[in-house]
């Protein structure tokens, strides 16, 4: 039968010493996946002779490659409670949001406005569905990367504090475990007595 234990702060922190920061790591990977979704939508819009068929797309490809590399690096870093790259991670997350105002927005202004203004335009018009998808994917990607960084930072900091407390003898995992076992035993004894009565 499953037992629900009350949260003990020492045990909660001690668990971190033996487990990976899977939440932060998964969020960073989600950020990476969202970025992939973004560029799949973007590159599907690139057709011969349209607005996107220009040199900025090459810069976007290069940036995407760099982002994917770093997103994976962030995922591995936060998994091991390492916060060395926290600021860089936040920067890359923010950059994903900034990117909304580059190619997606420019795509709309360059292709939709001439059509709306009645000016002759022979290229492909960026649809609202594609535009919204790109905005959502980029925003989500940025949010996941930043959230991953923040969670990674908080947990890594708390682990450091806990390790220092352990070293100084301020807390003892062994003592806590013994106390919890003793509490469990006395609770079991009370339950047994109540059952017998």
């Amino acid at each position: 039968m499953k037992r629900k234990a009350t949260v003990n702060p020492v045990i909660r922190d001690d668990i971190q010493r033996y487990t990976k920061n899977k939440l932060a790591s998964s969020l960073a990977l989600l950020g990476l996946i969202c970025c992939c979704a973004y560029f799949i939508v973007l590159y599907s819009q690139v057709k011969n002779n349209n607005y996107y068929y220009k040199w900025p797309i090459a810069l976007d490809v290069i940036y995407n490659l760099i982002f994917l590399l770093f997103a994976f690096l962030f995922s591995e870093q936060v998994k091991n409670y390492d916060r060395k790259l926290f600021w860089l991670q936040t920067f890359f997350g923010a950059m994903q949001i900034v990117r909304i105002f580059w190619l997606p927005l420019a795509g709309v202004t360059e292709t939709l406005y001439p059509v709306l203004a009645g000016i002759a335009y022979n290229g492909r018009v960026l649809g609202s569905g594609a535009f919204i998808s790109m905005v959502v994917f980029l925003a989500a990607s940025g949010a996941f990367i930043i959230a991953s960084g923040i969670i990674g930072y908080i947990r890594s900091k708390s682990l450091d504090v806990f390790n220092k407390k352990l070293e100084s003898g301020e807390v003892s995992v062994e003592e806590t475990l013994k106390e919890l076992d003793a509490a469990d035993e006395s609770a079991a004894a009370v339950t047994k007595e109540a059952t017998n009565a």
Binding site: K2, R3, I11, D14, R17, Y18, T19, L177
Partner: protein, 369 residues
């Protein structure tokens, strides 16, 4: 910890080959049972039937009074430790030990407490962040045991857990398993072909051969009072010396020597007068005085004692174990005898001849007492 009751257990494989015949055993709460026997005797099959990894063809299995005969392994509340450790290479030791509880979606803090308690018992605390490949064989086997301990199962099953380890490590792990049993006071079933493990670990030994239980008893019972010729030769190292002969006028007579029986032996063997029987004597019960002439073929000095291999009448190979440093050379002739209190008599085994003309034993010679 619960009782385990095994009643008339049979295992017949699809091809019609029967691996286990009518296995009966009552395991008491906290008892350490060792199943011992040569390869192919059905000991691992029996253990796997208890674990639920093999279907039970016939019979009944009760764990803590609950009929588990047809229950899937996950519902039997048992834990098994395998010879090859079966650890997940990509997980850390902590994750390996916590894995079964994580699958059950137990509370993280409870999992942590159980893993830490098991690591403490097995002295694995400093290894928890390592991967299995970074550990030695003995440590890996301890992890496998830890994984079983955290589940707090009703019964622990061990399938030759020390067979992959070298002799020295096996010795230390054997002691650790013994201590573990004392600490946990758990019901354990342990399969091995190593009689040293069986004799040192077991509260009771189940000696098996050809799918049949040959004898169940305390280690000392199997050693001092073997039920048949198989147990007599399987338990004890070097194996018991066996001599075929006849009972004639209060003597055991064989081609090589005559052995006068004492009063107790005479009364036990009274109805075997003139009939063929087997006399057995362990190497450690061979004495340095007697009327049997032994020609030494090999002398192994082991420090505390010496193993003397020799022939009687130029034919029968006999091993004697003397508690002293001997300096016999090949070809030396010495007089030996047999400790009359420690000689055993058995009926002749029943044999049949198969289609290839080979003689096979169908029933081992029973002990005469």
């Amino acid at each position: 910890m619960p009782d385990v009751k095994i009643e008339h257990l049979d295992k017949v494989y699809d091809g019609g080959v029967q691996a286990v015949y009518d296995f009966n055993l009552d395991i008491k709460d906290g008892e350490f049972i060792v199943l011992v026997g040569p390869s192919g005797c059905g000991k691992s099959t029996t253990l796997r039937m208890v674990a639920g990894l093999e279907d039970i063809t016939g019979g009944k299995l009760l764990i803590d009074g609950k009929d588990c005969t047809r229950l899937p392994p996950k519902d039997r509340d048992i834990a098994m430790v395998f010879q090859n450790y079966a650890l997940y290479g990509h997980m850390t030791i902590y994750e390996n030990m916590a894995f079964s509880l994580t699958l059950r979606k137990e509370d993280k803090q409870l999992i942590h407490r159980k893993v830490m308690a098991a690591a403490e018992i097995l002295d694995l605390k400093s290894q928890l962040n390592k991967k299995p490949k970074q550990l030695s064989g003995g440590q890996r086997q301890r992890v496998a045991m830890g994984r079983a301990i955290v589940r707090n199962p009703k019964v622990f099953l061990f399938d030759e857990p020390l067979s992959n380890l070298d002799a020295k490590l096996r010795g230390s792990m054997r002691r650790e398993i013994m201590l573990l049993h004392k600490k946990l006071n758990a019901t354990m079933m342990y399969v091995t072909h190593d009689q040293t493990e069986a004799l040192t670990l077991a509260d009771r030994i189940v000696c098996m051969s050809m799918g049949h239980v040959q004898q169940i008893g305390k280690p000392i019972e199997l050693y001092e009072h073997p039920a048949n010729t198989f147990v007599a030769t399987f338990i004890g190292l070097p194996p018991m010396n066996m001599f075929e002969g006849k009972i004639e006028n209060g003597k055991f007579v064989c081609d090589l020597f005559e052995y006068p029986l004492n009063d107790e032996q005479k009364s036990a063997l009274a109805e075997y007068e003139g009939q063929p029987v087997i006399m057995g004597c362990r190497p450690e019960n061979v004495t340095r005085s007697g009327n049997v002439k032994l020609t030494v073929t090999n002398n192994e000095n082991l420090g505390m004692n010496s193993l003397i291999h020799g022939k009687i009448g130029g034919v029968k190979i006999v091993v004697a174990k003397f508690a002293e440093w001997c300096s016999f050379k090949e070809g030396d002739e010495i007089q030996i005898g047999f400790d009359e209190k420690m000689t055993h008599f058995f009926e002749m085994p029943k044999t049949t001849v198969n289609e290839k003309g080979e003689q096979t034993v169908t029933e081992y010679g029973k002990a005469i007492r």
